[in-house]
Amino acid sequence: MRPRSTLDFRRPRGKGQPDRFVHRILWAHLGREEGMPEKNVPWWRPYAAGALLGVVAIASAWATTRWLGKTNYLGASTTFVRAAGLLEKTVAPDHVAQNAYFTKEKVRVEWQFMLIVGILIGALVGAVLDRSFRLEAVPPVWRERFGPSPTKRAIAALLGGAVMMIGARMADGCTSGNGLSGLMQLSASGFLVLPVFFGVALVTAMLVYGRRTAP
């Protein structure tokens, strides 16, 4: 049983204790069962959400061709290159201007950059509406293996993120650009790289999280 965080305002504090203010104002009108367990998500939800994302991808490909004159497919990792370039530009503009990769990917806020901003907004709307928003510093699966230290988790997330992005740029796409969009277009690259992504992640995860040592 995970200890309840004081920052966890998704659920009321239990019988006899007053509801959190945020909880009352935001969720009361929805008339949902309080503290509805996550298990109640119907079995077909991931299929339905996935299928609808397929429709969004099709609509997006059509709309970008129609209005931007070029077919854009969903992707995420190039935006991190542009964001890193924009940040670096504030301290070393000449260095960024001379860098071959930043020049190739063009350091600017464009379609995919706004797509990523949109992901943040869309996910926030969903999390607020179904009350799944919860401040979490250490996920339960991590805690079981490595204990409750948020610092440990933060360092791993930072290093993992850095390694992952180097790999994503080397492969010219992540699970969105190479995975979702690559397979949707029947790209040979997508069919090759997605099994590598999952295969290596599976082996790494078995080695990293397979044993449970933390109390």
Binding site: G50, L53, M114, I119, A123, W142, M165, A188, Y209
Partner: protein, 176 residues
């Protein structure tokens, strides 16, 4: 904000909402998929790809849109894919889901985002070296699987559909 920006933003909002509703933004969903304990990620991705694949193939054949394949660069895909897999398992989020995870309050994903910015900056520095080594090894060009096999896209779509539906049946039967 231009049309380009608005199109990206609105599409992204649907993307984020569906990622969140599909429950794939969670660290535990991603790690448990890798540990083969919870197939949510696979259900979500395969459903999206299956529907998207049919629509994209149709629209390309109607001449409405065009493909934008990524190069079949064997060195980049194999080595990059391997490095990505290791980082993904440790971070517990892929690039798009890390951003969405922040919106669900899982703020440790913020460190994954900082790491990704760092990784992108490092990649920009090593890019010239990679270009003359890993990326120069074998590039088979921007090609689709059907072209590579010399067949129409539809048999590939059909096989993919059968495999996916078979996997879905198995997932539900096993209750994973």
């Amino acid at each position: 904000m231009t049309t380009e920006h608005w199109l990206g933003l609105v599409t992204g909002m649907f993307f984020g909402l569906l990622l969140q509703q599909g429950r794939v933004l969670r660290f535990e969903k991603q790690i448990n998929a890798m540990l083969l304990r919870d197939m949510t990620i696979f259900k979500f991705m395969l459903s999206a790809v299956l529907v998207g694949m049919i629509g994209i193939t149709l629209l390309v054949q109607m001449g409405q849109i065009s493909y934008n394949h990524k190069a079949l660069n064997l060195g980049g895909l194999l080595l990059g894919g391997t490095i990505f897999g290791v980082g993904w398992a440790i971070a517990g989020f892929c690039p798009g889901t890390a951003v969405g995870a922040i919106a669900e309050g899982r703020w440790h994903a913020l460190f994954a985002i900082l790491g990704m910015l760092l990784g992108a900056a490092i990649f920009a520095e090593i890019y010239p070296t990679l270009q003359s080594t890993v990326l120069a090894w074998k590039d088979l060009g921007k090609v689709g699987l059907p072209e590579l096999m010399g067949i129409s896209p539809w048999p590939v779509v059909a096989v993919f559909a059968l495999v996916s539906l078979g996997a879905f049946y198995l997932f539900e039967k096993l209750g994973v």
